[in-house]
Symmetry: D2
Subunit: 357 residues, 4 copies
Amino acid sequence: MSFNSFGHLFRFSTWGESHGPALGAVVDGCPPGLALGEADIQPFLDRRRPGQNRFTTQRQEPDVVEILSGVYEGRTTGTPISLVIRNVDQRSKDYGEVAAKYRPGHADYAYDAKYGFRDPRGGGRSSARETAARVAAGAVARKVIAGVGISGYLVELGGDAIDRAAFDADEIGRNPFFCPDAAAAARWEGLLDGARKAGSSLGAIVEVTATGVPAGWGAPVYHKLDGQLAAAMMSINAVKGVEVGDGFAAARLRGEENADAMAPGPDGRPMFAANHAGGTAGGISTGQPIVVRMALKPTSSILTPVATIDRAGAATEIVTKGRHDPCVGIRAAPVAEAMMALVLADAMLMHRGQTGR
Amino acid sequence: MSFNSFGHLFRFSTWGESHGPALGAVVDGCPPGLALGEADIQPFLDRRRPGQNRFTTQRQEPDVVEILSGVYEGRTTGTPISLVIRNVDQRSKDYGEVAAKYRPGHADYAYDAKYGFRDPRGGGRSSARETAARVAAGAVARKVIAGVGISGYLVELGGDAIDRAAFDADEIGRNPFFCPDAAAAARWEGLLDGARKAGSSLGAIVEVTATGVPAGWGAPVYHKLDGQLAAAMMSINAVKGVEVGDGFAAARLRGEENADAMAPGPDGRPMFAANHAGGTAGGISTGQPIVVRMALKPTSSILTPVATIDRAGAATEIVTKGRHDPCVGIRAAPVAEAMMALVLADAMLMHRGQTGR
Amino acid sequence: MSFNSFGHLFRFSTWGESHGPALGAVVDGCPPGLALGEADIQPFLDRRRPGQNRFTTQRQEPDVVEILSGVYEGRTTGTPISLVIRNVDQRSKDYGEVAAKYRPGHADYAYDAKYGFRDPRGGGRSSARETAARVAAGAVARKVIAGVGISGYLVELGGDAIDRAAFDADEIGRNPFFCPDAAAAARWEGLLDGARKAGSSLGAIVEVTATGVPAGWGAPVYHKLDGQLAAAMMSINAVKGVEVGDGFAAARLRGEENADAMAPGPDGRPMFAANHAGGTAGGISTGQPIVVRMALKPTSSILTPVATIDRAGAATEIVTKGRHDPCVGIRAAPVAEAMMALVLADAMLMHRGQTGR
Amino acid sequence: MSFNSFGHLFRFSTWGESHGPALGAVVDGCPPGLALGEADIQPFLDRRRPGQNRFTTQRQEPDVVEILSGVYEGRTTGTPISLVIRNVDQRSKDYGEVAAKYRPGHADYAYDAKYGFRDPRGGGRSSARETAARVAAGAVARKVIAGVGISGYLVELGGDAIDRAAFDADEIGRNPFFCPDAAAAARWEGLLDGARKAGSSLGAIVEVTATGVPAGWGAPVYHKLDGQLAAAMMSINAVKGVEVGDGFAAARLRGEENADAMAPGPDGRPMFAANHAGGTAGGISTGQPIVVRMALKPTSSILTPVATIDRAGAATEIVTKGRHDPCVGIRAAPVAEAMMALVLADAMLMHRGQTGR
């Protein structure tokens, strides 16, 4: 409900700036008795961690998480879980230019317009560095929805889409792009190298799926699972579009093509002929896989000079130097997974609270 | 925060079922002293009203709104505004088949899975009839953000897109499709007649824009204007995708193409070279027009028989008779306008509360 | 979280003014499948209803409740329950004096200071008439916490306390004061007649208890059961103090006197030697009866002239004519019961959501 | 809205356990541009700090606050302010007895009943140590409501009340009891020494006032200023009763005694003859001083043995050794001040948001 919190019963809040001393998350409402330690969280942070290859920013952050509360003898107590990640590689550079001029595509101007003032160091609160805190919180959420499998990956980079027929889940962890198609990953290497060397950047499309979600999570009308997912994904830096199931393509189907025919399943639960709706109907999960896709614009920090204005309103030009991801979409994959887990954990607890199931 | 409410400081809640005695909205947090009467609300309900042509359901609902509280001598008092719309044309038919079988693409199965039970009459709470209540609430929101112009229209129907070069705002009110392109509207008439006669249905893409929004509304990180808009639009029945600005197309742009270069404007405010980001940066409005698009799947109620199961889990088949919109996307245009107004009113009050501006 | 809503998972919102056409409540988050009809709600409204004897206002309101949504074939569906009560005895009198002058002790000045404007008819939104809507919502809450017994009664009127040794639960329904002590009830009759005839008014202390609440409801730190109860009771018109268990008297006990010694109980649950804490520890229920008391100031509407100012700020004098309860504390008893039920229903669902118990 | 958060637009969340590595608060929604540094917060923590005299626990905690986010170059940025206080004197003792047996009057049993499990070290989350985090957050709130003067003090200890005629605001800071009456402070010294030496404990009544609050803050019906204050104060450990203005005494006044007659004031604002209502009417501030009192039970940790049960349900006895405040009411005074500031800051922003004033 407030600005930097998400969720209702399972709720997390994040804090921290790109170049402040630390960033963190507070997870409130976590069920008690779940096994939890730093070792459960660190692997997810490691997947998102920068500086691991030439396709992400060269900022070297170990992203070591510390649990400061809410866990006793290795189990959650039901009280707030405070997670802190220290920043260690805030380069002591001169932020004068960013402070004085607005970088187009960045939040600089909007922050100044809103607050009359801003922390210019690395984008301050608007930096994607904030997503480290969510990934930590997401690892806690995964414990709550044990049994649900979540997978995030890129299906398109710089306009080059994967071949769905070549989809290989094992491939996702083998390349620097979270790409499930080995051939596409190979192509993307060249594509992104080219963009990076040209001082440019590329966009991407990330897909995240959740399997094992039972029917019944989510609720009408303003707490629809799709609505929560859309808000969650839209909160990720650079995301400009979100779709569930067939999404925009569904607008081009006829009614009979879009209908997910149902049949009796082997385990008593229905079997669906397809999953055009991406696992929800009326905002409530159907037991099918939840499928969400999001579009990320190309990184706004580029080496190509762009016309802009300074804080006084005068015309000028800016080149965004510094360390940046040439495609922010890549590291968004583990973040999108975390957001999926966070939304589902809340939906599970809300559902259980209202219905007792 | 709860299931059927939206917004934080300017907050509305809706209630009511398709075939219950009435539906309504409670608007809480409305600023005091605004001129408001039923006559300010009715025109918006009239635009959304069913039964006005052969392209919408033939259910005859006058959708007359009554203000039951929160207004005194024609002005809002700052206390909750209760809006009620009586249902008058709930056809007394037999809902036995819908009660016994699940309509694929509808929320029937999901509701049963969640609640163990459901109101089958016209889809109950999951019916798009609920959107009448939002349109009424949206009319109140428009009073709060006086000065902001909001326009919703279809840019695609059944896969057939408008010609942007032929965009004519005046045309939107002249055809039954809220279509800004007269030639497209003419084509859509045949397209939709064909689908309707074939017992099929079509999807659509709706765009809604807001002009006159000052820079500074919205807030990081989980209260981003884009995130609120995405959640708001995703709550509209049949919406499966939402994008802001260039949306999915932005994922195919290069950094330098996507950059909205800035220049000094005539009135002291910046001028932007483009609006790829759709009027937000970092989740905060930039002063540019807000542009949101959403994809609506084809109506799930079709006359083509579809395989399904009954409540006992046995295989069967269903044909959804009754009165339905052959394209739910059409009447979604005024609903999307209402949601835009409701999100912006809340963002305005939240911004004013935190910053005093 | 907004102004006119209470609760989180089981949440209700009220709307309506004293002399508007109607007032009502929307109950959201109610579990599905509960038997509910108007007949389950009406008896509670009847207990609170005005005009039943000379000790309450002579306004004749039948307070007939209508359920407009959320119930199908006599059972709750899990969707919002809209409850409406029409006002029928808004006397068409001249409100000119109340509109022009501020009644001391009333909210007139505060509303004008806040909103710049107010509905002067019968106090508008600040009237205790609003509590009818809560009593209706409370009847729904009672269904959720079936098994919990709630009882509200007066323990003091005009400074004259009951004799705890003479406490007789059956007596509560036999006198117009919800008084559990027949002798006190007899005395109060004279006391209140005297005050009424003198154009004065009296205060009261109301106690409400809940039995059958299991241990574990409520939560640290800002969602303590005591905190929720305090907020709930303080929202009742004229309440100026709330205490749980021994309350203010506990401040005068020594540690060893205040300790509720524990012993093994016959049913496996602990037996407590006393209940100084009123059924909560650390904000969480202990399985003991919940005991809350609240102090209500005397009705501010009196026939004795009081010095005041008019809207222009000039000195004047006012006598509050019209129909009023000479002791607002009396009809607060059923309202306090409703608030207890509403708080407990929310606490139960929140607890179930977080812990699965 | 969630368990460990308070406030709506100006919102804070706390986390941390008595014997964990640290505790902290996240303040969200703070207006931008306020001068803020650790030096603005530390003095308030120092007032609440334990171990400063023989009347509080001997635990030695420096309570040094660190600001980890939300401040840039000495000014708030409008983003979340993370405040952390490291615990340094968690004595490494054996918690076996507290883990195995329930201390009557403490939250031990209730936590186990709720969560099935608890952190027994120093009471874990239920410890009054959590209030350090609120005091830090409260210091931020004071910046928001600059111009409002807040003062908390004891008016009764162990049943011995101050003499209102001897009230001296300067005296509050001169004795270890936050007592405004020098003679009472002298008496309390003996009283509390006696209780402490006898292994007992005493209760207290704390009063907190706010001056300079303009008319108009707070809102009907479930966001009344009194209701928010009651919830806030009730969240302080050991508080069992809260009253506003005359509180329980008002229940013994007649209508004409309780009426706060109004007269034109010298500055255009009304002058009130008294302040029976404690600065609110209809839940909205009137411009008079806000006056709240709360009752704190005696510390539950006493050296007198008390009958209890162990986790297995068997009868046993417990003596609560360790370091404790013999009267928790004393250090509650700075905490109550913090809560007053936090409630008012939120009320101010909410009012500004809705009304623009």
